[in-house]
Assembly symmetry: none
Homo-oligomer: 218 residues x 4
DNA sequence: TATGAATGAGCCTTCATTCAT
DNA sequence: AATGAATGAAGGCTCATTCAT
């Protein structure tokens, strides 16, 4: 029965899509299997049938969301091989912001990640190894280029953190930012402005640190 | 009887202390009144009696945690009136990090705030106005001094955000950082190193931005 | 301390008054000691202090309400000794209706009695002996006069029941009557009309029954 | 296995049956879902699953009880089309009394209705329109025939009320009647005697009223 | 005498999960 | 393969009552 097969994958997929939205909105605990199944037009037992239990289901949703986000906003953003470190940093920051502030399906990704920080589940381990570390390694190579040879590993790590921090901030603190500065918007133009500021601010910081290290060494 | 001393403590106070810990660990939804009362050696009905319901209780806990954190680590950190903008920035960053990364009672504050970001409750509004905005205003005055007259309001806002972002990062992304770099520690010395990096990185960023603006103007 | 004594009786009295209203509105179970004490501006523990527990408190309230009602609408309604049986029936019916349909303080009485029917408490026993039976005996003497010598005890009892039934109906079924016939009012004029109808209908019934018995006997 | 037969019965049905009994005995507030489910050998969550919440459950029970009572004692009681108004009144009164005083399943009906009077719930509205009004209309047509053309609408209404009142009285005031006259019984023979009295008393009342109206008109 | 604080039992409801089909 | 029915474990909250002062 091929149609059955189609229906099956459909249900699974509908569940993932519905769950992404609901988990992102409500969090792991507050999201209920009943609501997810209702939105997915599936039976209450469907989740347990397809994914075992709520926790494994959630892990699956998390991975799916991450894949969606990376697919839509790859970190290179079609950069040429010959791009300078500054250009690569600019691209990295922009793609990061877009991924995190997108309002479409990949938005789950940001929300879900934020929730993982506040209350990590077993799913975080896999996510870190499969998605976050590779991404961070990319940034560290950029930062290494910008800091120069005098920089230590700790310098690179700390500076990379400073950059990532600025990108995450606008998403992670959104509720507070909205209250402090209601006119802050997140449309593409605004995101470009944010990316521009973060890149410049960070380049200033990086150069300053590089200079300090050079001075120390000499 | 030393235990008598414990019992003498106000039930209300014991509830606040226990709740700070539990809400921070589990979040509003997952935390149960039963567990909080058990830890506070109080009756299940005590919360209802003293605070009305779980939501109002939570708001009270949030305010209490914030007050504790500010009391222990005031943002000025005993700075002289004649302190330079650089010194004031250093003090701001250090006190911020200490407040957020402290392992004692004020630790709730950071955790609770993080949870508010992920899933804001009605309590956030009050917190923003009473605690966060005044603190941010302090930072903005420092940043204004450092950026110089050429800076726009948006410059100040964006740069202040970049600084706050770096301070929050180590707490907000702790679960991920721990997995990426297990040897990262948060003892006083480590916190000092972090504060030092953030201050220097930010000063570099700020000077770079100030220079850009100056160049634009001329 | 005379003032203390005054205050004490005051609290007791205020509790009785508040409780009458609340018990009548909500019923024994749904009425809460807290609400009663709040309305009486008394402490939560006041009821238990003055009356022991909720049940004994309720019994006291019931008795108080009954005394209030009888005081305001005594069953004779100032009838002369020489009044005919018809006149006495009219007076009985009118005072009964007034007592039961009054909107003031004695209104509790009716409501509380109705609740006792639906869910009798221990308090009903005393009430029946002290208040209801004497009142019914009065009616039976009137009915005996109207039915004549041929009537049996059962005749008297059944006819008295028919009369009481009609008086109670308008109160007991008020929620249904209101829905069936929204324009039904209970102002003094309307109550007079009801009393008039019940008296005439009952007189018709009584004469019919009397006649039947007479015919049987002969 | 006869027990299998019992278990086979719909959980929903078992809940309705158990609830009828418990709600009738204890009232809406005092009845607990726990007890009902225990009697129905169902889980505590079954009520929520089948009926949503306690209130909707109660409404369903009320409707079910009413349907049971009407089914067992239809108001016509197999009367021929050619039956006289007197015969129809007799049938109406008898079926009413039987319905209200039955000790079996339809007994809930009476008890539940009585509770609705004392503390109406939202369920009463539907009940009045669907069950009570049609039944009352039947009685009014009988009364209209008996009162003759001279009677006004108010006459009909008042007389119908007087008849219904007498039928309800024996149920509504049962706790008081039992205390006043312990030997009152409610076996079929006793019910027949009550029906007989009420019918005769009411016929007397109706004829009297009719005569009065005729006299007024002429 | 009178009160505010505190208690513990119990209720309705919700939810993830399982079971029979 | 997939579902509707059913389960049992909590959770938040309410309430009458008690206790220390």
């Amino acid at each position: 029965m091929p149609s059955a097969t189609v229906d099956t994958t459909d249900t699974r997929q509908r569940l993932l899509d519905a769950a992404g939205k609901v988990f992102a909105e409500k969090g792991f605990r507050s999201a209920t299997i009943r609501e997810i199944c209702k939105r997915a037009k599936a039976n209450v037992a469907a989740v347990n049938y397809h994914f075992g239990d709520k926790e494994r289901f959630y892990a699956e949703v998390l991975g799916y969301a991450h894949r969606c986000a990376l697919e839509k906003y790859p970190p290179h953003l079609g950069l040429a091989e010959t791009a300078t470190a500054e250009e690569r940093l600019t691209a990295f920051v922009r793609s990061f912001l877009l991924r995190v502030l997108d309002n479409g399906r990949p938005a789950w990704h940001g929300k879900l990640m934020l929730r993982e920080m506040a209350e990590p589940t077993a799913a975080l381990d896999r996510l870190v190894e499969e998605s976050i570390r590779p991404n961070l390694d990319l940034l560290r190579s950029i930062v290494t280029d910008l800091l120069g040879d005098a920089a230590t590993d700790d310098d690179v790590r700390a500076s990379a953190s400073s950059i990532v921090a600025q990108c995450l901030f606008y998403y992670q603190c959104r509720p507070v930012i909205t209250r402090l500065n209601p006119q802050q918007s997140y449309d593409p133009a605004a995101i470009d402005r944010l990316a521009d500021h973060i890149t410049r601010f960070s380049l200033g910081g990086l150069r300053h640190r590089a200079e300090e290290r050079r001075r120390e060494r000499s």
